[in-house]
Symmetry: C2
Subunit: 227 residues, 2 copies
Protein backbone atom coordinates (compact mmCIF):
# COMPACT_ATOMS: atom_id res chain seq x y z
CA UNK A 1 0.00 0.00 0.00
CA UNK A 2 2.79 2.40 0.92
CA UNK A 3 4.41 2.12 -2.52
CA UNK A 4 1.27 2.91 -4.44
CA UNK A 5 -0.11 5.71 -2.30
CA UNK A 6 0.97 9.25 -1.81
CA UNK A 7 2.50 9.84 1.61
CA UNK A 8 0.80 13.21 1.83
CA UNK A 9 -2.63 11.82 1.02
CA UNK A 10 -5.37 13.21 3.19
CA UNK A 11 -7.93 10.47 3.76
CA UNK A 12 -11.19 11.59 5.30
CA UNK A 13 -14.09 9.72 6.90
CA UNK A 14 -16.18 10.52 3.83
CA UNK A 15 -13.65 8.98 1.43
CA UNK A 16 -13.47 5.85 3.58
CA UNK A 17 -17.28 5.58 3.65
CA UNK A 18 -17.32 5.90 -0.15
CA UNK A 19 -14.56 3.28 -0.57
CA UNK A 20 -16.60 0.85 1.57
CA UNK A 21 -19.60 1.58 -0.67
CA UNK A 22 -17.60 0.94 -3.86
CA UNK A 23 -16.34 -2.31 -2.35
CA UNK A 24 -19.88 -3.60 -1.79
CA UNK A 25 -20.83 -2.70 -5.38
CA UNK A 26 -17.63 -4.19 -6.84
CA UNK A 27 -18.27 -7.49 -5.06
CA UNK A 28 -21.83 -7.59 -6.46
CA UNK A 29 -20.52 -6.86 -9.98
CA UNK A 30 -17.87 -9.57 -9.61
CA UNK A 31 -20.49 -12.09 -8.47
CA UNK A 32 -22.43 -11.36 -11.68
CA UNK A 33 -19.31 -12.19 -13.69
CA UNK A 34 -17.96 -8.74 -14.66
CA UNK A 35 -14.19 -8.31 -14.95
CA UNK A 36 -13.86 -4.59 -15.67
CA UNK A 37 -15.86 -1.51 -14.65
CA UNK A 38 -15.91 2.17 -15.64
CA UNK A 39 -15.99 5.00 -13.10
CA UNK A 40 -19.32 6.12 -14.58
CA UNK A 41 -20.92 2.70 -13.84
CA UNK A 42 -19.62 2.72 -10.28
CA UNK A 43 -20.75 6.33 -9.90
CA UNK A 44 -24.27 5.46 -11.10
CA UNK A 45 -24.54 2.54 -8.68
CA UNK A 46 -23.18 4.55 -5.74
CA UNK A 47 -25.03 7.79 -6.56
CA UNK A 48 -21.67 9.60 -6.81
CA UNK A 49 -20.17 11.67 -9.68
CA UNK A 50 -17.64 9.69 -11.79
CA UNK A 51 -15.02 12.41 -11.25
CA UNK A 52 -15.25 11.79 -7.49
CA UNK A 53 -14.91 8.02 -8.05
CA UNK A 54 -11.75 8.56 -10.13
CA UNK A 55 -10.31 10.97 -7.57
CA UNK A 56 -10.94 8.49 -4.72
CA UNK A 57 -9.17 5.72 -6.66
CA UNK A 58 -6.24 7.96 -7.53
CA UNK A 59 -5.70 8.37 -3.78
CA UNK A 60 -5.09 4.62 -3.68
CA UNK A 61 -2.63 5.02 -6.54
CA UNK A 62 -5.07 3.23 -8.90
CA UNK A 63 -5.46 4.74 -12.33
CA UNK A 64 -8.04 3.44 -14.79
CA UNK A 65 -7.63 2.99 -18.51
CA UNK A 66 -9.84 5.38 -20.49
CA UNK A 67 -10.89 2.68 -22.92
CA UNK A 68 -10.91 -0.32 -20.63
CA UNK A 69 -11.87 1.05 -17.22
CA UNK A 70 -10.70 -0.56 -13.98
CA UNK A 71 -10.03 -4.24 -13.33
CA UNK A 72 -12.52 -5.23 -10.61
CA UNK A 73 -10.24 -7.74 -8.84
CA UNK A 74 -7.49 -5.16 -8.49
CA UNK A 75 -9.88 -2.59 -7.06
CA UNK A 76 -11.27 -5.08 -4.52
CA UNK A 77 -7.77 -6.13 -3.43
CA UNK A 78 -6.56 -2.54 -3.06
CA UNK A 79 -9.62 -1.31 -1.17
CA UNK A 80 -9.65 -4.34 1.16
CA UNK A 81 -5.95 -3.83 1.83
CA UNK A 82 -6.59 -0.26 2.89
CA UNK A 83 -9.83 -0.73 4.86
CA UNK A 84 -8.86 -3.97 6.61
CA UNK A 85 -11.94 -6.04 5.84
CA UNK A 86 -12.92 -8.76 8.30
CA UNK A 87 -15.70 -11.36 8.26
CA UNK A 88 -17.13 -10.01 11.48
CA UNK A 89 -16.60 -6.76 13.34
CA UNK A 90 -16.47 -7.08 17.13
CA UNK A 91 -17.44 -4.26 19.50
CA UNK A 92 -18.45 -3.61 23.11
CA UNK A 93 -21.15 -1.32 24.52
CA UNK A 94 -20.72 0.72 27.68
CA UNK A 95 -24.02 1.83 29.20
CA UNK A 96 -26.81 -0.73 29.02
CA UNK A 97 -29.80 1.57 29.36
CA UNK A 98 -32.55 1.67 26.75
CA UNK A 99 -30.35 2.58 23.76
CA UNK A 100 -27.58 0.17 24.79
CA UNK A 101 -30.02 -2.72 25.23
CA UNK A 102 -31.72 -1.92 21.90
CA UNK A 103 -28.34 -2.12 20.13
CA UNK A 104 -27.34 -5.37 21.89
CA UNK A 105 -30.62 -6.94 20.77
CA UNK A 106 -30.54 -5.45 17.26
CA UNK A 107 -31.04 -8.02 14.51
CA UNK A 108 -30.06 -5.41 11.90
CA UNK A 109 -26.53 -5.06 13.33
CA UNK A 110 -26.10 -8.83 13.32
CA UNK A 111 -27.14 -8.92 9.68
CA UNK A 112 -24.47 -6.32 8.97
CA UNK A 113 -21.87 -8.65 10.57
CA UNK A 114 -21.43 -6.50 13.65
CA UNK A 115 -21.06 -8.61 16.77
CA UNK A 116 -21.54 -6.90 20.13
CA UNK A 117 -19.53 -9.28 22.31
CA UNK A 118 -20.26 -7.68 25.70
CA UNK A 119 -22.10 -4.91 27.47
CA UNK A 120 -20.81 -3.01 30.51
CA UNK A 121 -22.77 -1.16 33.15
CA UNK A 122 -22.38 0.10 36.70
CA UNK A 123 -24.62 -2.64 38.07
CA UNK A 124 -24.40 -6.36 37.22
CA UNK A 125 -27.18 -7.68 35.01
CA UNK A 126 -28.41 -10.85 33.28
CA UNK A 127 -27.12 -11.59 29.74
CA UNK A 128 -29.20 -10.14 26.87
CA UNK A 129 -29.61 -12.36 23.78
CA UNK A 130 -26.64 -14.40 25.10
CA UNK A 131 -24.50 -11.24 25.31
CA UNK A 132 -22.96 -11.00 28.80
CA UNK A 133 -23.36 -7.74 30.75
CA UNK A 134 -20.37 -7.09 33.01
CA UNK A 135 -19.66 -4.40 35.58
CA UNK A 136 -17.29 -1.76 34.23
CA UNK A 137 -14.35 -2.94 36.37
CA UNK A 138 -14.13 -5.99 34.07
CA UNK A 139 -13.66 -3.83 30.95
CA UNK A 140 -9.87 -3.95 30.62
CA UNK A 141 -9.77 -7.75 31.05
CA UNK A 142 -12.45 -8.45 28.41
CA UNK A 143 -11.21 -5.88 25.88
CA UNK A 144 -7.66 -7.24 26.05
CA UNK A 145 -8.71 -10.91 25.98
CA UNK A 146 -10.99 -10.45 22.96
CA UNK A 147 -8.71 -7.86 21.29
CA UNK A 148 -11.58 -5.37 20.87
CA UNK A 149 -10.81 -1.96 19.38
CA UNK A 150 -14.32 -0.56 18.93
CA UNK A 151 -16.75 0.60 21.61
CA UNK A 152 -20.16 2.25 21.79
CA UNK A 153 -20.75 4.90 24.47
CA UNK A 154 -24.42 4.94 25.49
CA UNK A 155 -24.28 6.37 28.99
CA UNK A 156 -25.95 9.55 30.34
CA UNK A 157 -24.19 12.78 29.29
CA UNK A 158 -22.68 13.44 32.71
CA UNK A 159 -20.72 10.16 32.59
CA UNK A 160 -19.52 10.49 28.97
CA UNK A 161 -15.96 11.80 29.44
CA UNK A 162 -15.15 9.51 32.36
CA UNK A 163 -16.42 6.45 30.47
CA UNK A 164 -14.52 7.49 27.32
CA UNK A 165 -11.27 7.74 29.29
CA UNK A 166 -11.89 4.36 30.94
CA UNK A 167 -12.55 2.72 27.56
CA UNK A 168 -9.44 4.30 26.02
CA UNK A 169 -7.40 3.10 29.02
CA UNK A 170 -8.74 -0.42 28.39
CA UNK A 171 -7.56 -0.33 24.76
CA UNK A 172 -10.56 0.93 22.76
CA UNK A 173 -9.48 3.12 19.82
CA UNK A 174 -12.71 3.69 17.84
CA UNK A 175 -15.73 5.16 19.64
CA UNK A 176 -19.35 5.55 18.59
CA UNK A 177 -20.63 8.24 20.93
CA UNK A 178 -24.39 8.33 21.52
CA UNK A 179 -24.22 11.07 24.15
CA UNK A 180 -24.54 14.72 23.18
CA UNK A 181 -21.15 15.50 24.74
CA UNK A 182 -18.60 16.54 22.12
CA UNK A 183 -15.77 14.16 23.11
CA UNK A 184 -12.35 15.14 21.73
CA UNK A 185 -9.16 13.12 21.59
CA UNK A 186 -5.93 13.24 19.60
CA UNK A 187 -4.57 16.76 19.18
CA UNK A 188 -7.49 18.13 21.13
CA UNK A 189 -7.38 15.43 23.77
CA UNK A 190 -8.10 16.97 27.17
CA UNK A 191 -5.65 14.61 28.89
CA UNK A 192 -2.98 14.88 26.17
CA UNK A 193 -2.80 11.18 25.29
CA UNK A 194 -0.70 9.87 22.42
CA UNK A 195 -3.25 7.36 21.15
CA UNK A 196 -4.91 8.27 17.93
CA UNK A 197 -8.52 7.68 18.85
CA UNK A 198 -11.32 8.04 16.34
CA UNK A 199 -14.69 9.25 17.62
CA UNK A 200 -17.88 9.20 15.55
CA UNK A 201 -20.88 10.86 17.13
CA UNK A 202 -24.55 9.95 16.73
CA UNK A 203 -26.33 12.95 18.25
CA UNK A 204 -30.02 12.20 17.78
CA UNK A 205 -31.17 15.47 19.36
CA UNK A 206 -28.92 17.47 17.04
CA UNK A 207 -30.09 15.47 13.99
CA UNK A 208 -33.72 16.22 14.87
CA UNK A 209 -33.01 19.89 15.52
CA UNK A 210 -31.23 20.06 12.14
CA UNK A 211 -34.33 18.54 10.49
CA UNK A 212 -36.62 21.17 12.04
CA UNK A 213 -34.37 23.91 10.67
CA UNK A 214 -34.11 22.30 7.22
CA UNK A 215 -37.89 21.90 6.91
CA UNK A 216 -38.45 25.47 8.14
CA UNK A 217 -35.98 26.86 5.57
CA UNK A 218 -37.41 24.73 2.76
CA UNK A 219 -40.90 26.09 3.53
CA UNK A 220 -40.13 29.73 4.37
CA UNK A 221 -37.06 30.47 2.27
CA UNK A 222 -37.40 28.30 -0.85
CA UNK A 223 -34.98 30.66 -2.64
CA UNK A 224 -32.14 29.42 -0.44
CA UNK A 225 -31.16 26.21 -2.13
CA UNK A 226 -30.12 23.29 0.02
CA UNK A 227 -28.04 20.49 -1.33
Amino acid sequence: MKDSTNNNTLLTKNIITRLAKYLRILKSLKSIGLIKVFSSNLGDAAGIAPTVVRKDFSILGINGNKKGGYIIDNLIKQIEGLLGIEDEYKAIIVGCGRIGKALIESEELKREHIHIIAGFDLTPSEPLNNVPIYTTDKMEEIVKKENIKIGIISVPNHAAIKVFEHMREAGIRGFLNFTSVDIKCGDKCPVGCEHKCVINQVNIGLELENLFHLVHITEKHPDLLIE
Copy 2:
Protein backbone atom coordinates in the same frame (compact mmCIF):
# COMPACT_ATOMS: atom_id res chain seq x y z
CA MET B 1 -34.20 37.58 5.03
CA LYS B 2 -34.71 37.69 1.28
CA ASP B 3 -33.27 41.20 1.03
CA SER B 4 -30.10 40.43 2.87
CA THR B 5 -29.29 37.04 1.39
CA ASN B 6 -28.06 36.02 -2.00
CA ASN B 7 -30.73 34.26 -4.03
CA ASN B 8 -28.17 31.84 -5.37
CA THR B 9 -26.86 30.92 -1.93
CA LEU B 10 -26.30 27.24 -1.49
CA LEU B 11 -27.14 26.34 2.08
CA THR B 12 -26.07 22.90 3.17
CA LYS B 13 -26.95 20.72 6.16
CA ASN B 14 -23.47 21.37 7.53
CA ILE B 15 -23.86 25.15 7.38
CA ILE B 16 -27.22 24.89 9.15
CA THR B 17 -25.72 22.68 11.88
CA ARG B 18 -22.93 25.23 12.34
CA LEU B 19 -25.39 28.15 12.49
CA ALA B 20 -27.35 26.33 15.22
CA LYS B 21 -24.05 25.84 17.08
CA TYR B 22 -23.14 29.55 16.79
CA LEU B 23 -26.62 30.43 18.04
CA ARG B 24 -26.16 28.43 21.24
CA ILE B 25 -22.77 30.04 21.85
CA LEU B 26 -24.07 33.56 21.07
CA LYS B 27 -26.90 33.14 23.58
CA SER B 28 -24.40 32.04 26.25
CA LEU B 29 -22.17 35.05 25.49
CA LYS B 30 -25.18 37.37 25.63
CA SER B 31 -26.23 35.93 29.00
CA ILE B 32 -22.75 36.77 30.33
CA GLY B 33 -23.25 40.39 29.22
CA LEU B 34 -21.22 40.58 26.00
CA ILE B 35 -22.47 42.87 23.22
CA LYS B 36 -19.99 42.19 20.42
CA VAL B 37 -18.00 39.14 19.34
CA PHE B 38 -15.17 38.44 16.87
CA SER B 39 -15.22 35.53 14.41
CA SER B 40 -12.07 34.17 16.09
CA ASN B 41 -13.83 33.97 19.49
CA LEU B 42 -16.83 32.21 17.99
CA GLY B 43 -14.51 29.92 16.05
CA ASP B 44 -12.61 29.00 19.23
CA ALA B 45 -15.82 28.20 21.10
CA ALA B 46 -17.27 26.18 18.21
CA GLY B 47 -14.01 24.46 17.23
CA ILE B 48 -14.31 25.98 13.73
CA ALA B 49 -11.83 28.12 11.75
CA PRO B 50 -12.66 31.87 11.88
CA THR B 51 -12.64 32.05 8.06
CA VAL B 52 -15.46 29.47 8.00
CA VAL B 53 -17.40 31.47 10.61
CA ARG B 54 -17.09 34.64 8.49
CA LYS B 55 -18.09 32.79 5.32
CA ASP B 56 -21.18 31.32 7.03
CA PHE B 57 -22.26 34.78 8.22
CA SER B 58 -21.69 36.32 4.79
CA ILE B 59 -24.26 33.81 3.46
CA LEU B 60 -26.76 35.50 5.78
CA GLY B 61 -25.68 38.85 4.35
CA ILE B 62 -24.02 39.73 7.68
CA ASN B 63 -20.63 41.38 7.47
CA GLY B 64 -18.57 42.07 10.56
CA ASN B 65 -16.47 45.12 11.29
CA LYS B 66 -12.73 44.31 11.36
CA LYS B 67 -12.15 46.41 14.48
CA GLY B 68 -15.43 45.88 16.26
CA GLY B 69 -16.56 42.38 15.28
CA TYR B 70 -20.22 41.39 15.09
CA ILE B 71 -23.09 42.71 17.22
CA ILE B 72 -24.40 39.65 19.10
CA ASP B 73 -28.07 40.71 19.10
CA ASN B 74 -28.05 41.12 15.32
CA LEU B 75 -26.48 37.72 14.79
CA ILE B 76 -29.03 36.03 17.09
CA LYS B 77 -31.94 37.74 15.31
CA GLN B 78 -30.68 36.86 11.83
CA ILE B 79 -29.88 33.23 12.63
CA GLU B 80 -33.19 32.69 14.43
CA GLY B 81 -35.02 34.25 11.48
CA LEU B 82 -33.39 31.77 9.14
CA LEU B 83 -33.55 28.62 11.28
CA GLY B 84 -37.05 29.13 12.66
CA ILE B 85 -36.36 28.64 16.35
CA GLU B 86 -39.18 27.31 18.53
CA ASP B 87 -39.42 26.66 22.25
CA GLU B 88 -40.17 23.01 21.69
CA TYR B 89 -39.76 20.78 18.65
CA LYS B 90 -42.56 18.25 18.12
CA ALA B 91 -42.08 14.94 16.31
CA ILE B 92 -43.65 11.51 15.87
CA ILE B 93 -42.04 8.06 15.77
CA VAL B 94 -43.16 5.29 13.45
CA GLY B 95 -42.02 1.85 14.58
CA CYS B 96 -42.13 1.28 18.33
CA GLY B 97 -39.65 -1.57 18.60
CA ARG B 98 -36.58 -1.35 20.83
CA ILE B 99 -35.05 1.76 19.23
CA GLY B 100 -38.42 3.54 18.94
CA LYS B 101 -39.28 2.85 22.58
CA ALA B 102 -35.82 3.95 23.73
CA LEU B 103 -36.30 7.29 21.93
CA ILE B 104 -39.82 7.81 23.30
CA GLU B 105 -38.50 7.26 26.82
CA SER B 106 -35.30 9.30 26.31
CA GLU B 107 -34.74 11.91 28.99
CA GLU B 108 -31.90 13.41 26.92
CA LEU B 109 -34.26 14.32 24.05
CA LYS B 110 -36.65 15.98 26.49
CA ARG B 111 -33.79 18.01 27.90
CA GLU B 112 -33.00 19.11 24.35
CA HIS B 113 -36.61 20.38 24.01
CA ILE B 114 -37.64 17.62 21.62
CA HIS B 115 -41.12 16.38 22.36
CA ILE B 116 -42.16 13.05 20.83
CA ILE B 117 -45.94 13.54 20.84
CA ALA B 118 -46.98 10.09 19.58
CA GLY B 119 -45.69 6.71 18.47
CA PHE B 120 -47.20 4.57 15.72
CA ASP B 121 -46.99 0.83 15.21
CA LEU B 122 -48.81 -1.96 13.42
CA THR B 123 -50.31 -3.26 16.66
CA PRO B 124 -52.01 -1.15 19.35
CA SER B 125 -50.05 -0.70 22.56
CA GLU B 126 -50.18 1.00 25.97
CA PRO B 127 -48.83 4.57 26.27
CA LEU B 128 -45.11 4.87 27.12
CA ASN B 129 -44.15 7.67 29.55
CA ASN B 130 -47.56 9.23 28.79
CA VAL B 131 -46.83 9.19 25.04
CA PRO B 132 -49.75 7.50 23.21
CA ILE B 133 -48.96 4.64 20.79
CA TYR B 134 -51.46 4.54 17.92
CA THR B 135 -51.94 2.11 15.07
CA THR B 136 -50.56 3.50 11.80
CA ASP B 137 -54.03 4.14 10.31
CA LYS B 138 -54.36 7.04 12.78
CA MET B 139 -51.23 8.77 11.45
CA GLU B 140 -52.79 11.30 9.07
CA GLU B 141 -55.35 12.45 11.67
CA ILE B 142 -52.77 13.02 14.44
CA VAL B 143 -50.13 14.62 12.19
CA LYS B 144 -52.66 17.10 10.77
CA LYS B 145 -54.27 17.87 14.14
CA GLU B 146 -50.94 18.53 15.86
CA ASN B 147 -49.32 20.11 12.76
CA ILE B 148 -46.29 17.82 12.95
CA LYS B 149 -43.66 18.07 10.24
CA ILE B 150 -40.93 15.82 11.66
CA GLY B 151 -40.95 12.03 11.96
CA ILE B 152 -38.56 9.28 13.00
CA ILE B 153 -38.54 6.02 11.01
CA SER B 154 -37.52 3.13 13.26
CA VAL B 155 -39.12 0.16 11.50
CA PRO B 156 -37.39 -2.96 10.11
CA ASN B 157 -35.60 -2.36 6.78
CA HIS B 158 -38.20 -4.18 4.68
CA ALA B 159 -40.93 -1.73 5.77
CA ALA B 160 -38.86 1.46 5.36
CA ILE B 161 -40.02 2.73 1.95
CA LYS B 162 -43.70 1.97 2.55
CA VAL B 163 -43.64 3.70 5.94
CA PHE B 164 -41.78 6.69 4.48
CA GLU B 165 -44.44 7.11 1.78
CA HIS B 166 -47.24 6.80 4.35
CA MET B 167 -45.62 9.45 6.57
CA ARG B 168 -45.09 11.80 3.61
CA GLU B 169 -48.72 11.30 2.60
CA ALA B 170 -49.76 12.24 6.15
CA GLY B 171 -47.78 15.52 5.93
CA ILE B 172 -44.36 14.74 7.39
CA ARG B 173 -41.59 16.66 5.61
CA GLY B 174 -38.46 15.98 7.70
CA PHE B 175 -37.43 12.37 8.33
CA LEU B 176 -34.85 10.84 10.65
CA ASN B 177 -34.26 7.42 9.13
CA PHE B 178 -32.88 4.75 11.48
CA THR B 179 -33.13 1.94 8.92
CA SER B 180 -30.18 1.12 6.66
CA VAL B 181 -32.34 1.69 3.56
CA ASP B 182 -31.12 4.70 1.57
CA ILE B 183 -34.48 6.51 1.23
CA LYS B 184 -34.52 9.17 -1.52
CA CYS B 185 -37.09 11.88 -2.16
CA GLY B 186 -37.14 15.20 -4.04
CA ASP B 187 -35.40 15.00 -7.40
CA LYS B 188 -34.60 11.37 -6.82
CA CYS B 189 -38.02 10.53 -5.42
CA PRO B 190 -39.08 7.10 -6.69
CA VAL B 191 -42.73 8.20 -6.90
CA GLY B 192 -41.94 11.65 -8.37
CA CYS B 193 -43.59 13.74 -5.63
CA GLU B 194 -43.40 17.53 -5.60
CA HIS B 195 -42.84 17.85 -1.84
CA LYS B 196 -39.39 18.85 -0.82
CA CYS B 197 -38.72 16.26 1.83
CA VAL B 198 -35.54 16.26 3.89
CA ILE B 199 -34.17 12.92 5.03
CA ASN B 200 -31.35 12.55 7.56
CA GLN B 201 -30.06 9.04 8.08
CA VAL B 202 -28.65 7.50 11.25
CA ASN B 203 -27.07 4.28 10.01
CA ILE B 204 -25.53 2.74 13.10
CA GLY B 205 -24.13 -0.28 11.23
CA LEU B 206 -22.41 1.96 8.70
CA GLU B 207 -21.03 4.22 11.46
CA LEU B 208 -19.52 1.20 13.21
CA GLU B 209 -18.09 -0.22 9.97
CA ASN B 210 -16.56 3.19 9.25
CA LEU B 211 -14.94 3.14 12.72
CA PHE B 212 -13.39 -0.28 12.10
CA HIS B 213 -11.85 1.01 8.87
CA LEU B 214 -10.62 4.25 10.46
CA VAL B 215 -8.95 2.42 13.35
CA HIS B 216 -7.41 -0.12 10.96
CA ILE B 217 -5.97 2.64 8.76
CA THR B 218 -4.72 4.65 11.75
CA GLU B 219 -2.86 1.55 13.01
CA LYS B 220 -1.61 0.03 9.75
CA HIS B 221 -1.15 3.05 7.50
CA PRO B 222 -0.19 5.91 9.84
CA ASP B 223 1.33 7.71 6.82
CA LEU B 224 -2.14 8.24 5.40
CA LEU B 225 -3.34 11.24 7.31
CA ILE B 226 -6.99 11.38 8.32
CA GLU B 227 -8.68 14.64 9.15
